[in-house]
Symmetry: C2
Subunit: 131 residues, 2 copies
DNA sequence: CATAAGGCTTCCAGTCACGGGAAGGTCAAG
DNA sequence: CTTGACCTTCCCGTGACTGGAAGCCTTATG
């Protein structure tokens, strides 16, 4: 199948699929006219990549997961390690965002939000480290 | 003061300060030798920017906040609106991450993590949409 | 005066994972 | 023969910097 069909099947934009080829995640065949030609295995891998990316795995993590997926002698521990590392990243990001959210929502609550210029949000941002 | 000193005072890397000048967030003077010359106002603005960036505001949001900060006739409602929009962004990102975390941690729990190849994490990623 | 160290300058390239769009080849239908 | 959809490659832009090269300025030392 051509790139348009595999794009529709996998839900990935054609641009993304070309990019994945460029960085060596997949290697579609070429038809006589130069068009990329995908088979079910390619579509399957692309769907795999789409789901892994959807869970926030980086491209390099996806590459490793795909290699493990194709390795029948893999150890599930290797997969688990990658996933656990990614989970830790996610939790770290969430903690960072939670800290921002807490500070911000407190400041927002304190701000009158009217026509007057006095604003605890700006006051906090302008504050010297001292206080 | 030179860029090194203001960098140390504000905690921002010199590279970042040059970048902020390039995009028009600050406009330091120039000494006769061509060096950037910062006064306390510049340092104050940079510190403001550092704190706003630390709360995750984008550069354009920082630009707007800085303009409001310098506008004595501002309405606190304008500040509050920007902050509330950013808070909503943060909460959306957190929700996305929470969904990833939930799926991932469930899969990780189900994975034996040993030498055997069977792995529910890979199985899930490889799954057809049908199931 | 020469030299070395450290700070400053500009400019260019890279990051991550694509997306937009131009210029042009290919294919099926009318 | 033309239209229109699809495909190709190539290059630029994103956000907010970061790293590094090449070279000028200043200060300290011999």
């Amino acid at each position: 199948m051509n790139i348009g069909e595999v794009a529709e099947r996998t839900g990935l934009p054609a641009k993304t699929i070309r990019y994945y080829e460029e960085i060596g995640l997949i290697t579609p065949h070429r038809s006589a006219n130069g068009y990329r030609s995908f088979d079910d295995t390619h579509a399957h891998k692309l769907a795999f990549l789409g789901r892994a990316r959807g869970l926030g795995f980086s491209i390099e993590e996806c590459r490793a997961l795909l290699a493990l997926y194709e390795d029948r002698a893999r150890a599930s521990a290797d997969v688990k390690r990658i996933a656990a590392g990614h989970l830790a990243d996610i939790e770290a990001k969430m903690a960072e965002l939670a800290a921002m959210r807490d500070t911000l929502s407190e400041l927002i609550d304190q701000c009158a939000g009217d026509h007057r210029p006095d604003c605890p949000i700006l006051a906090d941002l302008a504050e010297d480290g001292g206080g």
